[in-house]
């Protein structure tokens, strides 16, 4: 598996620096969390990794590949998937259709195959469905398979959002606040899903999350951002003791 290395990345919007000289290493197979107060640049980092933004300076590498100037669809084809903070699903479609559609990049049949729906088209759709069903089972979405996404509760929609990212069978999964707005029980479920994604699907997880309890519990490595700068990093217990981190979160002590 590949590690993701972010070196000296700076992201500037005119004179405003969203990220300044950020260095981080996401080690393969672990859960790495990026935390920080609002506006610290957490989502900006995810946007740079997934190709929505291109860093003004610096480089991002995933194994041998250079992501610095890659487009989002390239990044996703290289094994990096992302679940969004604001759920990005087709609200008028069923859960199943959303997940099937998310795999359209993995299909390579032509329109005339689709018309007759024999041979290649039906074969590929069947394989696709099997993979999607495996993910439905994994994320425990069976009761919602045929339901319209817009009619589901927020907690379930979040699960569908993560499932959508998983359908790409990523090596590295970017999770942007998967637990925001959830109640305790939904959070516990989601934590279990994140751990299972790491351990049973052997996927590297990058977690951006505000709930520090969750972050401290499940992360192997934590990076702390504040005003676009990296102010601390290490294992959870190290970060929790770091005076700079405490100051950024609680103010002066």
């Amino acid at each position: 598996m590949n590690s993701l290395v972010v070196s000296d990345v700076t992201l500037a919007f005119g004179g405003l620096y969203a990220l300044s000289d950020v260095n981080l290493t996401i080690q393969a197979g672990l859960i790495t969390s990026i935390i920080g107060p609002n506006g610290a640049g957490k989502t900006s980092i995810l946007n740079c990794i997934s190709g929505f933004y291109h860093p003004t300076r610096g480089a991002i590498r995933f194994g041998d590949r250079v992501l610095t100037r890659a487009s989002p669809h390239q990044v996703s084809s290289w094994g990096i998937a992302r679940a969004f903070q604001n759920i990005e699903l087709f609200r008028g479609m069923t859960v199943l259709d959303n997940l099937m559609l998310a795999r359209h990049r993995k299909l390579d049949y032509r329109i005339w195959h689709a018309f007759v729906y024999m041979g290649r088209a039906s074969r590929q759709e069947a394989i696709n469905r099997a993979i999607v069903e495996e993910i439905i089972d994994f994320m425990e979405l069976e009761p919602y398979r045929k339901q319209i996404v817009g009619s589901l509760s927020y907690g379930v929609q979040k699960r569908v959002e993560v499932a959508r990212a998983l359908t790409l069978e990523p090596q590295l999964l970017l999770l942007d606040e998967p637990m925001a707005g959830m109640n305790i029980e939904e959070k516990e479920d989601m934590v279990r899903f994140v751990l299972d994604i790491q351990k049973e699907r052997h996927t590297t997880v990058v977690l951006v999350e505000h709930d520090l309890g969750v972050v401290m519990d499940i992360s192997d490595q934590i990076y702390v951002l504040d005003f676009g700068q990296l102010i601390g990093s290490g294992r959870p217990e190290e970060v929790a003791r770091d005076p700079k981190v405490i100051e950024a979160y609680i103010g002066e002590n």
Binding site: R129, A130, E133, E134, I136, D137, E140, E142, P143, R145, K146, R192, D196, K199, E200
Partner: protein, 641 residues
């Protein structure tokens, strides 16, 4: 059929082997997995049972030992249970919702040496009490999800490894398994069914192979099932109802058992399968009806109009159908139209279209629910029985469904009422007694009859009417027997009455203390522009008292015996509550406590001269403060019609 009777000489595993010879390529089990219904033929079923049995043998399960199963409904629950039975071992189901310490107590009581769990949730419970269950040598699990941390612990065995062990144990001796199951005798104990004790530990009823197979044969003697029929397994495996169907009925008839994808998808899986018969507790039928009501409420006006019009027709037609009487031609025509236009599409939406019979048991079901289901074309019938008789002793017959009764004895079941009024039964399905409880067994099977502990009587149609637990039955001053629960249930079937307490032990007549339903009576009062402030105020309104009087009058008009009639009643100014100690945790009335607490009301009920009485009620707020409210409570005498 002589052929059918001969099945009684088989054990469950032997009957499975016989099925394989008869209909080996037919589908026996079907499970929805990854969105697809996957089938197992009888051949494959048998093959899996064989491997599971030999695997269980390989990890040390021996004849006479017990294996407990804590699992949702999955094919493996049958494969492992019958596998264990093939070795002459005894299976036992434990409710999935049981708490860890309860599981530990049960495992120790039944002396389980192995446990089968479906997933990590149950495995974790066992881990919590591992020190308390030294007898348990191995735990077999089915779903590897989340089990990565336990892989190095040899207490656990993954089911696929169990199958491989079985395969290896067989080696070259293909007759090993055949030889094993041939040693079984139909009267061997094969399963322990835990009955829910109201106090203390559950008792394990010792069920034999013959108990189940006999039940399967007798049910289908009354209500025929074809081998191509479908059954949906969603009752808890620990409940006799599920074992009765998946051991007894399925093996005796060769029907297909379908397993839902998950507990949450039962309703949609039901729709996909379209079972031919189903069993359930009253709650499931109440849930389905609420769903129908909800959808009718949401549909467009024409649909709604049609539904309500034909519902009226349907109910009238149901009254004829339930009693087997001939319908007048006009009604028949309208009823046919309603079925075609409204009810067939409606029950098809729910997956109940192919349902020939639906059975309810376990608790009382409101008569209007029977009428409702019969009206929409679902043949809902009552069964009565207990774990100790493999589920069913009495059952309604088609065209003879009387909502107040539980029907007639099942074929092959002898039934009588003892002098004390207790319901006694005798059949080949009566269990062998309670596990390790000889005293209780003696009480249960005194004089060769199964003592149900329920009081009842046979009505003029030959139907059994169940009254109450014998221990709860009351007697009037004249010594006439009546059941408070029986009357309370009748009262509670009224939508306006939420709770009712019946008095009358050693009194001249029966009296009732009523709790009105605050929401429904509140709405009723609003619709009639009756103004009220609090629940206390509403409960003492004359109009409300008249409403309740009408309900009581209609019950009085329908009860079988004169001394059942409710003569005096009052409406309580507060709701009976668990926190006040008036109800148990499961919502049953704590009779003595209530009577002591409301002694002055009780006295007033039995003093016909009293029409109203000042009462003061003390309330305690959550912060500990108390307040006292005074009100005038009204007492009413119900006039004879």
């Amino acid at each position: 059929m002589a052929n059918r009777e001969s099945l009684l000489e088989y054990t469950i595993p032997q009957l499975l082997r016989w099925r394989v010879d008869e209909t080996g390529e037919r589908v026996a089990l079907r499970e929805k997995e990854f969105g697809i219904w996957r089938s197992l033929t009888w051949n494959q079923y048998y093959e899996k049972v064989r491997r599971a049995a030999l695997g269980l043998g390989a990890i040390g399960l021996e004849r006479g030992q017990t294996i407990a199963l804590i699992t949702d409904n999955i094919p493996e629950m049958l494969i492992v249970a019958i596998g264990a039975q093939s070795l002459g071992a005894i299976s036992a189901g434990i409710y999935q919702s049981s708490l860890p310490h309860e599981i530990a107590d049960i495992l120790n009581y039944i002396e389980a040496s192995l446990v089968f769990c479906d997933d990590q949730e149950q495995v974790d419970k066992l881990l919590e009490v591992r020190a308390k269950i030294p007898r348990v040598r191995k735990v077999v699990y089915e779903d590897p999800r989340g089990m990565r941390g336990y892989r190095d612990d040899d207490w656990f065995v993954f089911i696929d490894d169990l199958y491989q062990l079985g395969q290896a144990a067989e080696g070259n001796d293909a007759s090993l398994f055949d030889h094993l199951i041939s040693q079984g005798r139909p009267d061997d104990v094969c399963h322990l069914c835990l009955t829910s004790g109201t106090t203390g530990l559950p008792k394990g009823a010792m069920m034999t192979h013959r108990n189940y197979i006999n039940m399967g044969l007798r049910i289908t003697e009354a209500d025929y099932l074809a081998p191509t029929d479908e059954y949906m397994s969603f009752l808890p495996f620990a409940w006799i109802g599920e074992q009765m169907n998946s051991f007894g009925v399925a093996l005796a008839t060769g029907i297909t058992i379908n397993f839902p994808e998950s507990v949450e998808t039962i309703m949609s899986d039901l729709k996909e399968i379209g079972p031919h018969f189903m069993f359930g507790a009253p709650r499931i039928y109440e849930t389905i009806r609420s769903q129908i009501w909800l959808r009718i409420d949401e549909t467009y006006w024409l649909n709604r109009k049609c539904y309500h019009y034909f519902m009226g027709i349907g109910e009238r037609a149901a009254a004829f159908r339930m009693t087997g009487r001939k319908m007048p031609l006009g009604l028949k025509l309208l009823s046919w139209l309603g079925t075609t236009l409204v009810f067939t599409p409606l029950i098809n939406q729910l997956g109940l279209l192919r349902l020939r019979r639906a059975y309810t048991g376990g608790a009382a079901l409101g008569p209007e629910l029977f009428t409702f289901y019969q009206a929409i074309g679902v043949n809902l019938k009552q069964i009565y029985g207990q774990t100790e008789i493999t589920g069913i002793a009495y059952m309604h017959r088609d065209g003879d469904v009387r909502p107040d009764t539980v029907g007639m004895p099942l074929p092959g079941t002898e039934c009588r009422i003892s002098e004390k009024g207790e319901i006694l039964s005798r059949s080949a399905s009566v269990c062998a007694g309670y596990f390790k409880l000889p005293d209780k067994t003696r009480e249960l099977l005194e004089d060769g009859w199964l003592h149900s502990g329920d009081a009842g009587y046979i009505d003029e149609h030959g139907h059994l009417v169940v009254i109450d637990r014998v221990s709860d039955v009351m007697h009037t001053r004249q010594g006439l027997m009546f059941s408070p629960m029986f009357l309370e249930n009748k009262l509670k079937f009224s939508p306006y009455i939420k709770e009712a307490v019946i008095f009358g032990n050693r009194q001249d007549f029966v009296a009732a203390l009523i709790n009105i339903d605050p929401v429904i009576v509140g709405k009723w009062a609003e619709d009639r522009r009756i103004s009220f402030t609090t629940f206390m105020d509403l409960s003492q309104k004359t109009e409300v008292a008249d409403l309740i009087r009408q309900e009581i009058l209609s019950i009085n008009a329908r009860v079988e015996k004169d001394h059942f009639k409710i003569r005096r009643y009052a409406i309580l100014y507060k709701l009976l509550d668990v926190d006040d100690g008036e109800l148990t945790k499961t919502g049953k009335i704590r009779r003595e406590f209530v009577q002591n607490r409301y002694q002055s009301l009780y006295d007033a009920l039995y003093d016909p001269a009293v029409e109203h009485k000042k009462v003061s009620a003390t309330y305690q707020y959550q912060d500990g403060q108390t307040t006292t409210v005074e009100t005038e409570m009204q007492f009413y005498t119900v006039a004879e019609k």
